[in-house]
Assembly symmetry: C2
Homo-oligomer: 354 residues x 2
């Protein structure tokens, strides 16, 4: 028979965190594309726009005035999906397991990374990115004191539904473990019980040995295109040296190193198609609140980056149709994606142009 070649022959790969398979059909990259293109306006974002509610000194929708902040700035989301005081839905009134509801309470905050609207994380200085990491850790500490889950996430770019170019992320703390946390908790726990080792610590070790999916590495961190990546250039950011539950547990050295690895990874993303790379990213660490007292040793801190672009700055992967109804499918192998990212220059294209 024909010898198996992952770049030529479709196959499935298993995601041990989600217990789902992805269909890898790398030969599909050859098909022509006549569909929707994203608009690639490297729109000239101005440093400070008096209309932008995220800029220092500006007035927000609710009438509050932002301070003249000089590094990060956190405020309550003016249109929060989670509020601290929603009443419980009536229980069991429906008397049917097909109509179940439960309470949701929480807090939604917005965090600006920098006073300027025309800068992004890869173009910020290392000490500025460290301040972002420190603030993330502070928010996990503060909100995690009571809430079991604190989701830090960044939507970047219009393609990802981000409505404001100012560099910022969101932090949603909830009274419940969201779906993705429940599933990841279950998988990491089962692995830990079976192997007496953290799934993601073992995985980082293995990827560091194999190198073929590594994009950026340092003494403490590894950025890899996971073996089971679904988005074309999806990556995972992992501590490689020790068991770390949460952002709050990072040492100053690990934060410095993380700032550096993030800047290098995001520079590679931007350089790939010479565009400010859109993505959704977020941190997953051990649950907090009641879980601070233990029972979560199977967790290892990590971040997921989900960028949608596939072939160019304007042609994205659509996770539709078969993906929504049946199974995620990808058009190049994770190894090909990692190689392309490794091969782009380390210097940001914006700095080179100068």
């Amino acid at each position: 028979g024909v010898k198996f070649d992952p770049k030529e022959h479709q196959h499935q790969r298993y995601n041990p965190l989600t217990d789902r398979w992805v269909l890898v059909s790398a030969h599909r990259m050859t098909r022509p594309w006549a569909g929707q293109k994203e608009s690639v306006s490297e729109q000239q974002v101005v440093r400070s726009d008096p209309q932008n509610p995220l800029c220092p000194g500006n007035t927000r929708a609710n009438g509050q005035v932002n301070p003249d902040y000089e590094s990060t700035f956190v405020f309550e989301n003016d249109f929060p999906a989670l509020q601290p005081d929603a009443p419980d839905p009536p229980q069991g009134s429906d008397g049917d397991s097909l109509f179940q509801s439960k309470a949701a309470r929480g807090k939604c905050q917005v965090m600006c990374f920098h006073p300027w609207s025309d800068i992004t994380l890869p173009l910020m200085r290392q000490d500025e990115v460290i301040k972002v990491i420190d603030k993330w850790a502070e928010l996990v500490e503060e909100l995690g004191a009571t809430y079991p889950w604190v989701q830090i996430f960044e939507n970047k770019g219009a393609t990802m539904g981000c409505s404001n170019p100012h560099p910022h992320c969101q932090v949603w703390a909830s009274s419940f473990l969201p779906n993705e946390a429940v599933v990841s908790d279950r998988s990491q726990k089962a692995y830990y019980q079976q192997h007496q080792q953290q799934l993601l610590l073992r995985y980082a070790e293995q990827e560091a040995n194999r190198q073929e999916r590594v994009v950026v590495q340092s003494s403490d961190w590894l950025a890899v295109v996971p073996y089971w990546a679904t988005w074309p250039y999806q990556t995972m950011l992992l501590p490689r040296r020790r068991h770390i539950l949460r952002l709050t547990d990072l040492t100053p050295e690990e934060r410095r190193d993380l700032a550096d690895v993030m800047r290098r990874l995001l520079t590679k993303y931007d350089n790939l198609f010479q565009v400010s790379f859109p993505y959704s990213m977020g941190w997953h660490g051990a649950p907090t609140g009641p879980h601070l007292s233990g029972g979560v040793d199977h967790w290892q801190l990590h971040a997921h980056y989900y960028p949608p672009l596939l072939r160019s700055a304007s042609v994205r992967k659509f996770m539709v149709g078969y993906e929504m109804l049946a199974q995620e499918q990808r058009d190049l192998t994770p190894e090909q994606a990692a190689e392309r990212l490794r091969n782009v220059p380390d210097e940001h294209y914006r700095n080179r142009k100068k």
Copy 2:
């Protein structure tokens, strides 16, 4: 305390098919939108374009010439994600449960609904839509003779990555049960074992009694915004009268009735924002191939419609950030969505304009 109002107070709802929760935060609809808008060109699609590979008589990428077809037309996808003869990936060579792969084989077909490019299902005649349903059933019969899963799905509209305006769907048959099928199978089986009744047959009964989430109904079919819908105007199409495993089991009356209900549902979709409504849709029925011999009585045939639009023809819901990293979130209640759809006229806006 304050009385719970689902339109005012965020809460979670349980999806018994996927075993996941959705966060319902209906008060969020009040926030302003400054983000990406979809382009709403009701582009004048011509009835027959010599460059369009889906039109009768035209030549496709591989040099094959389409027949002068007069109703439906099926051909092999020229860039298939699944091919019948891919070799197996090497087994266990990685010696680690974190690097698992398995074989994927299958067939990808494209099915045109009609010879004209400038028509859509809601604007087709009932007898023309019945021909589509009959052809779907034929393909399930044919491909399902050997393959365990035959996924019929339609991506409609540029927003959904559809690169061709000609009315068509795709049919991907696979040598494996895809993720969504595995999960749905597990949930329906567990319910059946516990209640000795099909989950979705019971659900249809309940929704028919309650009516508040029903959009369109007939003697044999029900289109509802599910209690656990994640997309703003998501619907599920369900047989309401009897246990039906697959499209192949539908009687001629049930097909006629289905054609009618589909046309009514899709007309409501188009009328909501006076635009040809984008969506991904697909059929889920009992597994086939080896499963034709039994053990799948817990299954009930149904279709899912996942449309992305939220506020208008140009403002969609982005399932990004919190949704990708944590949990799906919706901005209006399923009951509100159903009511809006019920209240739009039954006559298609294109016909009224004439």
